[in-house]
């Protein structure tokens, strides 16, 4: 037990401070190379550095490698490889405009190491009712899961600080759930994700100094999905990000197909003169979580962010309750 506590403190410290210290340097380097994008929703339309993925992956890589020294288990290798592959997918998409098919397919391919390393258990644990084993379906779940979590996190990265703040809440809820079901090694492996997101939030929160970009969002989403698989907490992990899944569900059910945000002609929200966001009156615009939040009254970007965080806390609590329920079989 003392070894676990020491490892937890060390990896949390490394994960947090790597991103905390590296991000300002990355911002300067990106600004120097004109790798900035306009923040249209901000007064004056400030230019913001992008992508923040390199500092996020650095924090994850270093902390997970240190954790591997303490606990040399194949699950940590699976997390490292899959997360690095997701970073490459995101980095390619940051640098070059790819088709809508690219991210789902490439992310699905980045899940292959999990299968090759055998870092999974095809028994799905459901709360209150016990486990069910569907080996064939589970291979599909592994492939689809990384693609779904990666793109789900990417789809909520629409406002300053939302993706990093929301995933901080979801990641810590997942870590607590892993401790509850007594999967301690994977709980420790999940700690860096929460601390990396928390450190990045410092620079990503309103008014953003850096955006995560596809490389940042996909890294966070893919690591979250991989932890869910190697930790055997697929259902709990899905519950913790229900608001983000709801956002993707709204988007897909209104658009009826997978489409890149940049391909959308009619935006779901409009900017008012006093820099608040309001729902668009256009019926052909996609329906999103943000559009629903501002449906009754226009809100500032910061206010919308806090509403999404409250939803995240609510689903995080549901995830923790689900973890307790997994231990109870009717």
């Amino acid at each position: 037990m003392p070894e676990r506590i020491i490892a937890a403190v060390i990896v949390s410290f490394i994960a947090f401070f790597t991103v905390y210290l590296l991000s300002p340097l990355l911002i300067k380097a990106l600004e120097k190379r004109n790798m900035t994008v306009k923040d249209y929703q901000r007064e004056g339309g400030a230019m913001v550095a992008r992508p923040g993925g390199p500092s996020i992956i650095a924090g994850i890589l270093i902390s997970e490698l240190v954790l591997y020294v303490f606990f040399p288990i194949v699950e940590i290798i699976a997390i490292i490889i899959t997360t690095c592959l997701a970073f490459l997918v995101g980095f390619v998409d940051d640098r070059k405009v790819m088709g809508g098919w690219f991210k789902p397919v490439a992310l699905a391919a980045s899940a292959i190491p999990i299968l090759l390393l055998g870092a999974y258990d095809y028994h799905l644990a459901f709360p209150l009712f016990g486990i069910v084993s569907i080996p064939l379906l589970y291979f599909g779940i592994v492939i689809v899961m990384i693609s779904v979590t990666g793109n789900t996190v990417n789809s909520i990265d629409v406002l300053n600080g939302v993706a990093s703040g929301f995933m901080t809440i979801a990641s810590f809820a997942l870590t607590i759930s892993l401790f509850i079901i007594q999967n301690y090694e994977i709980a420790l492996a999940s700690l860096p994700l929460g601390f990396v997101c928390l450190a990045f939030y410092k620079y990503h929160k309103f008014p953003s100094k850096i955006f995560p970009g596809d490389s940042g969002a996909l890294v966070i989403g893919a690591m979250y999905g991989t932890i869910a698989i190697v930790g055997g907490v697929e259902i709990i992990a899905a519950v913790a990000i229900l608001p983000a899944i709801f956002n993707s569900f709204l988007f897909l059910s209104s658009m009826k197909r997978i489409v890149e945000h940049r391909e959308i002609k009619s935006k779901p929200v409009l900017l008012t003169e006093d820099f608040k966001l309001k729902a668009t009156p256009h019926k052909d615009s996609p329906v999103t979580l943000v559009r629903l939040i501002v449906a009754r009254e226009p809100l500032t970007e910061k206010q919308i962010g806090f509403v999404i965080f409250r939803l995240g806390i609510f689903s995080g609590i549901l995830a923790i309750i689900t973890a307790f329920m997994v231990g109870v079989v009717l």
Partner: protein, 76 residues
């Protein structure tokens, strides 16, 4: 508005719990025998098809609930 989103997320969670229960009750004891070495793969394949069907029903139900809860916001 925010309350209706919370209610919807709660209903999503309830559907996950119920869906999981149905999966365990229906798929758990399901077993095919009499096909020798293909028993396992046949059982797993049919379980997978049933599970995918259940997910499609889950999405359909969710879509109906969404339209019911957010009808004012979706059709202003």
């Amino acid at each position: 508005m925010k309350n209706s989103i919370l209610i919807f997320i709660f209903l999503m969670w309830i559907l996950v719990i119920i869906g999981g229960g149905l999966a365990v009750v229906i798929l758990g004891p399901f077993q095919i025998s009499g096909y020798g070495e293909f028993d396992l793969i046949l059982t797993s394949g049919i379980k997978a098809i049933i599970a995918i069907g259940m997910v499609i029903i889950w999405i359909f139900l969710l879509s109906k609930i969404k339209n019911w809860i957010f009808q004012k916001e979706l059709n202003p």
